[in-house]
Assembly symmetry: D2
Homo-oligomer: 237 residues x 4
């Protein structure tokens, strides 16, 4: 019995996640967001941007094509809970989705399950991070929209090719629920890395430091989004 997913937001592949974490905020974030907004239209690639919660309102208002996702939210109901991030408040600020369970903000299994249910309830898509293939399968049972797969088991083992890595994670997740989209992320540093992952069959990929630490973040972002389009067309056209 596959769990019902949030279905209002379907992200047409290929797509790309830009994760500013706590690197960019305010004006600097807005500048990158506007450039990404244009790149999304120019290359016909969907872009998920996960800004600081305080930036959601402005970015949602000032961009047209970006999919603004919160970095995290708490599964609490409306009411008490000072210091929390309320699902309804995230939605009201203009986000269309939320990231959950990143390795830098891990959630208990019970909270993760509740947060995905709360996201469905208020109308937010979910992108959930998994540390291993086995965890990706467990998360797949909870019915998120997207799973970010960074299986530390496989990375750096030497004999693991990009293709094997993408195939193994994708297969494991789709076996549980074929509607879940899979975003393999593994140290994407430039357009070539992006090209390789998409060429290997992925629907999506993403980066934080690849863009945030680039000398020219807007140029690097453009290079990466362009690489998504090129690789996607080679595989799918």
């Amino acid at each position: 019995m596959i769990i019902a997913m949030y279905e209002e937001l379907t992200i047409k592949p290929p797509f790309f996640e830009i994760g500013p974490k706590a690197f960019f905020y305010g004006e600097r974030m807005l500048k990158l967001a506007k450039a990404a907004d244009e790149a999304s239209a120019k290359y016909d690639v969907r872009i998920i941007l996960t800004p600081q919660p305080t930036d959601i309102y402005l970015l949602a208002k000032e961009t047209e094509n970006l999919l603004i996702f919160a970095q995290h939210m708490d599964p609490l109901p409306i009411g008490r809970g000072l210091g929390s991030i309320l699902p309804e408040a995230v939605k009201a600020a203009g986000a269309v989705g939320v990231m959950l369970n990143h390795a830098e903000k891990p959630m208990t299994m019970a909270d993760l399950y509740k947060a995905i249910r709360r996201a469905d309830e208020v109308g937010l898509a979910t992108i959930v991070c998994a540390d291993s293939i086995r965890e990706a399968e467990a998360i797949a049972l909870f019915g998120p929209n997207i799973i970010v797969a960074e299986p530390t088991e496989l990375i750096g083992t030497g004999q693991t090719s990009d293709e094997e890595y993408v195939r193994a994670t994708t297969w494991a997740i789709k076996r549980i629920n074929p509607d879940i989209q899979v975003l393999p992320a593994a140290g994407i540093k430039n357009g070539q890395d992006v090209y390789n992952v998409i060429k290997a069959g992925a629907e999506a990929t993403g980066t934080t430091s690849g863009i945030m630490k680039a000398e020219d973040p807007e140029a690097m972002m453009d290079e990466m989004i362009c690489a998504v389009r090129v690789a996607w067309d080679e595989v799918h056209c």
Copy 2:
């Protein structure tokens, strides 16, 4: 040796803290904020409002007199830290301060100390919560701007009068650092409660559920801010 406090924002007493926690957000929050903005001018009472992080930008932009404080922030530096609330991002969104260490979002002693330092660094005033008089003293050593004192030790003991309570907490904190402002909060339900606390000598008080759960939150807010002014004038004029 008294620790240097953040001095750019001096809140002229009397003042009042409205804590929406996860009760109000988005449009509903904005409506109350605008009413509070007017009440602040009308009664010449400073109002601290601590909204959800996603509401900071809009509320700071749409109000003139309110002091918008974040409900919480993390003491991390710019960089990694997905799911965090970055001090610089809070400031950039328009907040002038931050609440820390509320009983619903308790901080480790090390993080609390760092967060107060970070607030000073980026230019945010701090309002820090204490569970007991002893904790209030410890927090006073860290040099926050305001301490919210809800000493569970004294509340509900029967023989404790409002005046004794306000005096004991205020004295304990001011003995460490006379520049720290003290906000006694103890189940404020209506204008009369507000009147009693300010009449007993407090510079400030505040509430969450007194307003959030009121039948007419805007009317109750107005009643409370008015009570602050009336009591203050009786004591100080």
Copy 3:
């Protein structure tokens, strides 16, 4: 692909879990443990006892039949980690297993997965708690030995019978991995409650407050273990 389970400890059903939490410790714990040790032999029922970590050594040494499980352990390796509970230390003290992810000590998904792997590595059986049927399925993917199922979804809905409850959870877990043992726990207060759960088809059940808060804990424990045996024989003989 079913994940390899820890196989050195096979608990022959029926069995019963006594959870002292932070109610009993030291001498009082030892007295109950000795009585349970006798009851285990007398009724041919396996008893899992989860004492405070400080009591593991003494209870393992002073009992013969009890299965001593830690209440929790951390997934860290040998080395740094002050304030942790090291898997190897739990094993060395005489425990044969460990409980993980109880609602009062919830674990992140990543830590839970790692802790089950660490348990396998050092030779400890695992009894993992699940808040809902969906979480029980996700946990089943991680290959624990036993899952404690307390599906809040079903409890207290009125139309839910004990039998339905036991069947639904058991079926969901065994469908993922038939070797995982299922322990339904739902407010067991006396021997009759125990009888009903086992009679409904369960291999095991357990309690905390049913025994800890009983007027005569040893007598109540004896009544419950006896009820396990009676119900089991009625179903299986």
Copy 4:
């Protein structure tokens, strides 16, 4: 008004803390503990040993002179709280004290305050860790028996001598409460380091990796305890 301290256990200086963290446990821990037990008598130096919770019972039973402290405990009362470490259970197992708020197990300010009160209540001495001089002062207000001072502010600044460091921390704490004992700890690697700290005026010091990672931990421990005695006699005789 100085807070009342736990006074049943007075540790006569000089003393030394050995912190096995999650390095040593079971038989290996017992071997080191027995050697330390002898060294304590031989050199007339009090030794605090903070083993894994599962080792407290055995070590307390098998040693005569060691002061066995838990690595951590939770401030909960007897009752619910699975996965916790109950103060009464720590005491019953034979510990005479507890370490609190180590950087690897940081506590919220409220929990730290409660845990010190609970320790006083059940009869456990407290050794509390502080990350900075300011935190050490705040902790001093809570009335612990010993403060471990590792002020990251001063360490590694180059111009900071051992003596300055010991004096600054000691003075700051004793100014708040002269009865609190101060244990400066700063990368103690061998007997010479121990000698320097005690020679600089400290009542105590301690180490984890200095002993745990030594080629011959028992020999290194003996060298360090001997250095405590030699330095102490040079200063105080």
